[in-house]
Symmetry: C2
Subunit: 398 residues, 2 copies
């Protein structure tokens, strides 16, 4: 498997994208875009677990059930959430407008929105914008920009199989309201592999479980969380990838790598974040224990604030572990920060505080907790909590 | 029922308290204190649900099981948590030292600590301090100060029955690591009522459920959470209060009022807080739904940041409600801020934004969500999220 330099969602064969300024973002940046496959795709998606679902999520859930799609139209600046029936009509209209522009059927267009909740989608601006979007093979970069909200950079990646049998590309946006499940976000994935629909759904679930579902920025989950994958089968390889084959393993590994990369980038670019926190919990009795423990530590406001202040306050890490619900034995816990041992058997271990502080000043702060109870491990990603997070979220307009 | 002006934990008859500077707090304020009853008390307690329990919590759980006690010794500055067997020995020694000072048995002394996790209790300083504590009927005020950490003010209250048949007094500390269950804190309650031990435990559970368990500051739960109540029966009224009597109802109401007052004070004084958020959810299908919905909204970082910025961003409130797990129907939700309607039937309702912003500038921001599904209601308390919270928790020493 190899990472493609400058790779994005349009790196796989047969995908085009583009974006424009429709006027939805107050700052006047790109805010509307389209991802389009030249041929019909096998499609799968995962959506927010929030009981309040944005209208585009309801549209996608309805139409992805058929397992096929050909395009995604997305906007930032307005979430099209919490505005009743009108929202559903506007999401459907957005699909119709994109379908007309692309010469395909509305039910083959998936829709995604992100931004302010509770405001009506300015469908007239969306319509004018859709007509203006120019599609190209390089357009993935523009689309990656168009879906950002308070993100400070695009999240884009593409990997190819060693023998070039397939390529997978993806883009994502994150920043605020980031928490399992899903790690609140928009993520669009594309591949030129020919894939069995059932396997694609399963592979996506597995990749999302170890990536986006292990990212936490602020514990809030948005009504708009959407991960979509389109597989257009244009790689030229005959026969589709199905479960249990060697190709399937390769595909799963590549898809997981793409999602992990994007998830880490989202955590690193959390609102106001200055560094990435990577929490690994091993020696857990069950996988669920390892996962919930890692996520709880990565999401603790007190741990996040301590990391921001480069303060090796491991008591907060142990306290978060203790409330996570994971099975633990306090007297068996070992704890490491950047491989420096802080806790041995649940008690303080002498360490060079200046060395630990120095390690915490890095762009990535790795925390490892060994429960010493079983064989399961999991990794979660978060970011430090800065005053900037508060500023962003006090001033982000309704 | 009446609130006693300047009331505190020593307002009930037969209780003495005092505090001293033992040298545990870096700033040199009061940090060690004792609450003492002249006669043996019926006692009950509630403790952290964190699986990591501080040594004093383990001591209290062991000794309160007998249902009687006569004193509480407490310190701030060091949590005596996460230091293995040594911690248990130090907690026992702290009880022994206080017992010797008071001329009672160590098993009749409850112990509480709050402060930094993972450091050994300086038991020599504790010993010297205990000898120095001067007990008096006014000493509740000093004890209230001695248990504070990053709190900015004491939390004290006392109420008496209309006929003066009993008095209940209480003090608490909160500030950080505040979240159900319990709303992380120390709280010491005292009453001169004569109470049946079984009823006292039940009454405490009920009072804590609607008060401390409905307070959230930052979602973190400390290993030291402790609520203790001592009932010494010195009110002069013959016969103890047992379940099902009119007196029991009065006592429950008074105890709940004391706990609610202290809980609100804790939320209002959350780390970095500038205002209290009071979230009421009504029309819920079950009490659990109402409780979890109210707490999730009060605890959402995005809601907290919006309140800090006086931004009527109701979409964040609805999003938090949606991820709370409570049963909801998005099309039936009504939402009010300071009695101004923002949402009707799940859709935006026209409101005067300037009026809402003005209401949000007050010391208390009341949010009300009507689910319109059933008959259950609950109220939770939280505080806004300010840059100051981050500063405090980045710089609070390990």
């Amino acid at each position: 498997m190899k990472t493609l330099p400058g790779g994005t969602v349009t790196s796989p064969r047969g995908f085009l994208a583009g974006a424009t300024r429709a006027g939805l973002k107050t700052k006047g940046d790109l805010d509307l875009g389209i991802l389009y496959s030249e041929v019909s795709c096998v499609a799968a998606g995962l959506f927010t677990t929030n009981r309040i679902k944005a209208a585009p999520v309801i549209w996608c859930q309805r139409h992805i059930a058929a397992g096929k799609s050909q395009a995604i139209v997305a906007n930032a600046g307005c979430a099209n959430a919490c505005i009743g029936e009108q929202g559903l009509e506007d999401a459907a209209e957005m699909a119709r407008l994109a379908a007309r522009r692309l010469g395909i059927e509305p039910q083959d267009v998936l829709v995604a929105s992100t931004g302010v909740i509770g405001e009506r989608l300015p469908i007239d601006l969306i319509g004018i914008g859709i007509e203006r979007v120019a599609l190209s093979q390089e357009g993935g970069h523009e689309l990656a920009r168009a879906i950002l909200t308070t993100d400070t950079c695009t999240k884009e990646v593409a990997v190819a199989a060693d023998d070039d049998e397939f390529t997978i590309g993806g883009i994502a946006k994150g920043s605020g309201m980031i928490h399992p499940n899903l790690g609140t976000l928009l993520c669009f994935l594309a591949t030129d592999a020919a894939i069995d629909a059932h396997f694609l759904e399963k592979a996506l679930g597995e990749a999302v479980d170890t990536s986006f579902n292990m990212v936490t920025v602020d514990g809030d989950t948005s009504p708009n969380d959407t991960v979509l994958i389109l597989a257009n089968g244009t790689s030229g390889v005959v026969g589709s990838i199905g479960e249990g084959t060697k190709q399937a393993e390769e595909f799963q590994a590549a898809l997981t790598e793409v999602c992990n990369y994007l998830a880490r980038r989202i955590a690193r670019d959390g609102e106001g974040a200055t560094r990435l926190i990577e929490v690994t919990v091993d020696g857990a009795l069950t996988l669920d224990d390892a996962r919930v423990a890692a996520r709880t530590i990565a999401g603790s406001p007190l741990v996040k604030a301590a990391v921001h202040g480069c303060d090796p306050n491991w008591g907060r890490i142990v306290a978060a572990l203790g409330r996570s619900g994971a099975e633990i034995d306090g007297a068996r816990i070992d704890l490491f920060l950047n491989d420096i041992r802080l806790v041995a058997g649940g008690s303080p271990h002498t360490f060079d505080e200046e060395k630990v502080r120095a390690a915490m000043r890095g762009a990535e702060v790795p925390i490892r907790v060994c429960l010493n109870l079983g064989d399961f491990a999991a990794t979660a990603w978060g970011c430090d909590l800065s005053a900037e997070y508060v500023t962003i979220n006090s001033e982000y307009t309704t």
